[in-house]
Amino acid sequence: MLRFLFRRLVMAAAVAVAVSLITFTLTNFASDPAIAMAGDTASAAEIQQIREREGFDRPLVVQYADWLSSAVVGDFGYSYRMRVPVSDLILSRIPVTMMLGGAALTFAIVLAIPMGVLAALRPNSWIDRTALGVAVLGQAMPTFWFALMMMVVFSVFLGWLPASGARSWQHFIMPAIALGYYATPAFMRLTRAGMLEVMRSDYIRTARAKGLRPHVVLFHHGLRNAIIPIVSLAAVQFGFMLGGSVVIETLFSMPGLGFLAWESISRADLPVIQAIVLVIAVFYVLLNLMADLANAYLDPRIRIG
């Protein structure tokens, strides 16, 4: 167990380093941080001065090593534009994004699993077709378009929900639905396919042969098995949602990581961009690790050889 954890943590660290290396290289190739830092009115001499002062004239490898060694201890440097420590910025923005991601995931799962189960129990029935329709539509709608439409209907026309911000739970409803709906089809498909497969399996036949009641067969024997891959998917999707929150947070003006990322991107604030990508990557890897542990808990085949 410890060995497993150690191996996975090393892997997580390696992924984080790889992601940060790619981001660092890409952003530094695409933009000159000295110019970005100097502001509107700087002269060429001032830019050169900044370049030397901040060490941007050093080879990229050295700069990266420098950045990485500080990043390891949680020091991501200062934001070029806000002049505050990047770590403070990110810490202050994480809660909103986490809440948004959590709400979106909850929405997706609460919608998808029952529909997926029903669809699997009655393949080709109207329930199955409805579920399929909901899924296909969810995948086909541009998230921002859906979000805008909701905003028009629920904020402007009906006045039920606030259009933007993140001050109360009501503020999270529309963003969570917009973000979660896109993930719903994936969950629904997996649930449906998983349930179809499980319900066809030999052990379900065994359970029925024991004369167990249908709901016991369905939940205790069926769903219990079908749920295992869903845990992994949830981790993956949650990771995606953190990354995908850019559009939604920008549209709904929610002060989360995505919004910060967007503002930093639009101002070429490289340290913040790098740190956000890294943080999301680390989250993703850790979520996957947690999903694996959860799987091991749920699936004794993995736990005990």
Partner: protein, 686 residues
């Protein structure tokens, strides 16, 4: 107790309604064993599921009467039926590996069967579970309750399944191919257990199987099923002594039976394939495969006719002729020996009998495997210090239980993996240094599963000719000519040239695989369980073909099989493998008449022959199979060996090589066993 009349099962398929079961009648009495035997697709499994009300969605069950203990099952609502299931009537399935829910403990799954049906406490249920586990021969029953299914071996799981079926003490037990997925040694134990339990619980037992040997050993009454219908029913002795229906007769002629069929002789075989079960069948369903069919067979409805005491057959043949047909394999030659069909004779190798073509010199193969996600990798000695000669022109049988390393050995010989230590010599030269292409020219495989062996996206012509093309041995036209030649040779119609594998039957596919293996004219063919995925009627065709080819071209075969009857029929010499080691190597006669290693003896004991008088043997192997990841010290077989001695537990046996063959066993070691004290002294001296 169970009374079934005119039972039919229909399945909807894209091609139309499939009439899988076509109006069968039978009864089962308390304490009686009723066997339904038939090949795959005959409808036997659906019959058993129909009785339990477990048919898949969309399947329609109809019957004139379906009564269990005077209760009409047809009109029973699903929840009332569920009350019966697992309670009064229980079922065990073929695949013990997948029939238990992997995420729940054995105990939980056992207990819920009882808790569902009877007002008992959890504690009582647990006690009953422990009791039954003990009864079905699961060692340390109490501690098993907390284990999960995958922690148990296949044999143990099947025992758990049986215990689960017995939790409520049912009146009727339906066993659907309960031993098919198990090793021979385990198969005998499980069958014996079923017999014993049936007596003890005084249950009715319906046993569904494809294996005539199993039927012969356990059945009271037998029904032979073909194309959804019973073609012959009767008491077991009647059926085996006086089989009346041509199909039954054909089946019996297909099995290699020691004493009946001469070793290496041609087996009987049933030509053709089962008719489509979509739509109606007029006349006799078997007529297109029956060598005795005449015009009347094609018309009308043929009923089961009474032909003896409780013996019925669905055949129009006159009684006398039918009786005369039994037991004559020559009547059942599905095809001529096809070798003559070659336009251009294959140059015969000048046989150098006895010269080793392949020599394994202390070959070992170790893998690193991880038992579970959280555990470290540990070494698995799949093949351990194997020394073996394979001689030109011989058929060498390799037998052993699953997981003993047979397939790894095959992979080494095919050059797919290089042994961890030791070497393989081909014609006296180290083989693996030559590279795959060299090996491929001389050694070719025939695999077990004809469905996985052929690329589903390539035509048969391409598949057979591919080796020539890959090796650049012939031009396009030449390849096509040779392919067509081989299609003839293996007894396939020329039109398959452009077919895709999924348009072929299993037997046809296996012929394609053989043709492909032969096209480069190799010296050695490695046959890895070449017939175990096939029905008996097809198996015999393939065995015949393999033998014909071997004789014609002086091929050398390594025949890997768990089926001792097949090995006995085919092989000149036999090697027995146990946990990666060859424990005995000798010629056929010695091995089958005078097995020297206790493991060989046990294997022979558990092999079943279709002899209704023999009963179920007890190989006394114990219920715990070996774990290759954790081999016991000393002689690896000692925990299961009925003759184990004290020093077997600590000391590896030597290899004894004498005129009678080679064996690794302390029993046959003439030199006195080295005492432990002695050994210690030697170690310290070193």
């Amino acid at each position: 107790m169970l009374d079934v009349s005119n039972l039919t099962v229909d399945l909807p398929t894209p091609a139309g309604t499939l009439h899988a079961v076509r109006g069968i009648d039978f009864t089962v009495k308390q304490g009686e064993t009723f066997c339904i035997v038939g090949e795959s697709g005959s409808g036997k499994s659906l019959t058993s599921l129909a009785l339990m009300g477990l048919l898949p969605k969309g399947a329609a069950r109809r019957a004139d009467r379906l009564a269990f203990k005077e209760q009409d099952l047809l009109s029973l609502r699903e929840h009332r039926m569920a009350d019966l299931r697992g309670n009064r009537m229980a079922m065990i399935f073929q695949e013990p590996m997948t029939s238990l829910n992997p995420v729940h403990t054995v105990g939980g799954q056992l207990e819920e069967a009882l808790l569902r049906h009877q007002p008992v406490s959890r504690k009582e249920a647990r006690e009953r579970a422990v009791h039954l586990l003990d009864r079905v021969g699961v060692p340390a029953p109490a501690s098993r309750l907390r284990q999960f299914p995958h922690e148990l071996s296949g044999g143990l799981r099947q025992r758990v399944m049986i215990a689960m079926a017995l939790m409520c003490g049912p009146d009727l037990l339906i066993a659907d191919e309960p031993t098919t997925a198990l090793d021979v040694s385990i198969q005998a134990q499980i069958l014996r257990l079923l017999r014993d339990l049936q007596d003890e619980f005084h249950m009715g037992l319906i046993l569904v199987t494809h294996d005539l040997s199993v039927v012969a050993r356990v059945a009271d009454r037998v029904a032979v099923m073909y194309a959804g219908n019973f073609v012959e029913t009767g008491p077991v002795h009647e059926i085996f002594r006086r089989p009346r229906h041509p199909y039954t007769q054909g089946l019996m002629n297909c099995i290699p039976a020691p004493g009946k069929t001469p070793p290496g002789g041609r087996l009987g075989a049933i030509a053709g394939i089962v008719p489509s079960l979509v739509g109606t069948i007029t006349g006799c369903a078997f007529r297109n495969r029956c060598p005795f069919a005449f015009d009347d067979c094609a018309h009308g409805r043929i009923d089961l006719a009474h032909i003896g005491e409780k013996h019925h057959s669905r055949c129009l043949l006159p009684e006398r002729q039918a009786a005369a047909n039994a037991g004559r394999p020559e009547l059942w030659q599905a095809e001529e020996a096809h070798v003559e069909a070659l336009h251009q004779p294959w140059e015969k190798r000048d046989a150098r009998p006895g010269e080793p073509v392949l020599t394994l010199d202390a070959v070992s193969q170790t893998f690193k495997v991880r038992r579970a996600m959280f555990q470290a990798k540990i070494p698995l000695h799949a093949v351990n210090e194997v020394n073996l000669d394979i001689r030109e022109g011989e058929v060498l049988g390799l037998v052993g239980e699953s997981g003993c390393g047979k397939s790894t050995l095959a992979k080494i010989l095919l050059g797919l993996i290089e042994p961890t230590s030791g070497q393989v010599l081909f014609d006296g030269e180290p083989m693996h240094s030559h590279g795959r292409k060299f090996i491929a020219r001389h050694i070719q495989p025939v695999f077990q599963d004809p469905y996985s062996a052929l690329n589903p996206r390539k035509t048969v012509g391409f598949i057979i000719g591919q080796p020539l093309m890959v090796h650049g041995l012939a031009g396009r036209a030449e390849v096509e000519r040779r392919v067509k030649e081989l299609i003839d040779l293996v007894g396939l119609p020329q039109r398959v040239f452009n077919s895709l594998p999924n348009q072929l039957s299993g037997g046809q596919r296996q012929r394609v695989a053989i043709a492909r293996a032969l096209i480069m004219r190799p010296k050695v063919i490695i046959c890895d369980e070449p017939t175990s995925a096939l029905d008996v009627s097809v198996q015999s065709q393939i065995l015949n073909l393999l033998l014909d080819l071997q004789r014609e071209f002086s091929l050398t075969y390594l025949l890997i099989s768990h089926n001792l009857a097949v090995v006995q029929h085919m092989a000149h010499r036999v090697a027995v493998m146990y946990l990666g080691r060859l424990v005995e190597v000798t010629n056929r006669a010695n091995l089958f008449q005078d097995p020297r290693h206790p493991y060989t003896q046990a294997l022979l004991d558990s092999a079943l022959t279709p002899d209704p008088d023999a009963g179920v043997p007890d190989p006394k192997l114990g219920s715990l199979p070996p774990n290759p990841l954790d081999p016991p010290p000393g002689c690896a077989f000692h925990p299961r060996c009925p003759k184990a001695m004290e020093h077997c537990r600590t000391q590896m046996p030597r290899t004894i090589d004498d005129k009678a063959g080679r064996v690794e066993c302390h029993l046959h070691d003439q030199t006195a066993p080295i005492s432990i004290a002695n050994k210690r002294a030697r170690i310290s001296a070193a």
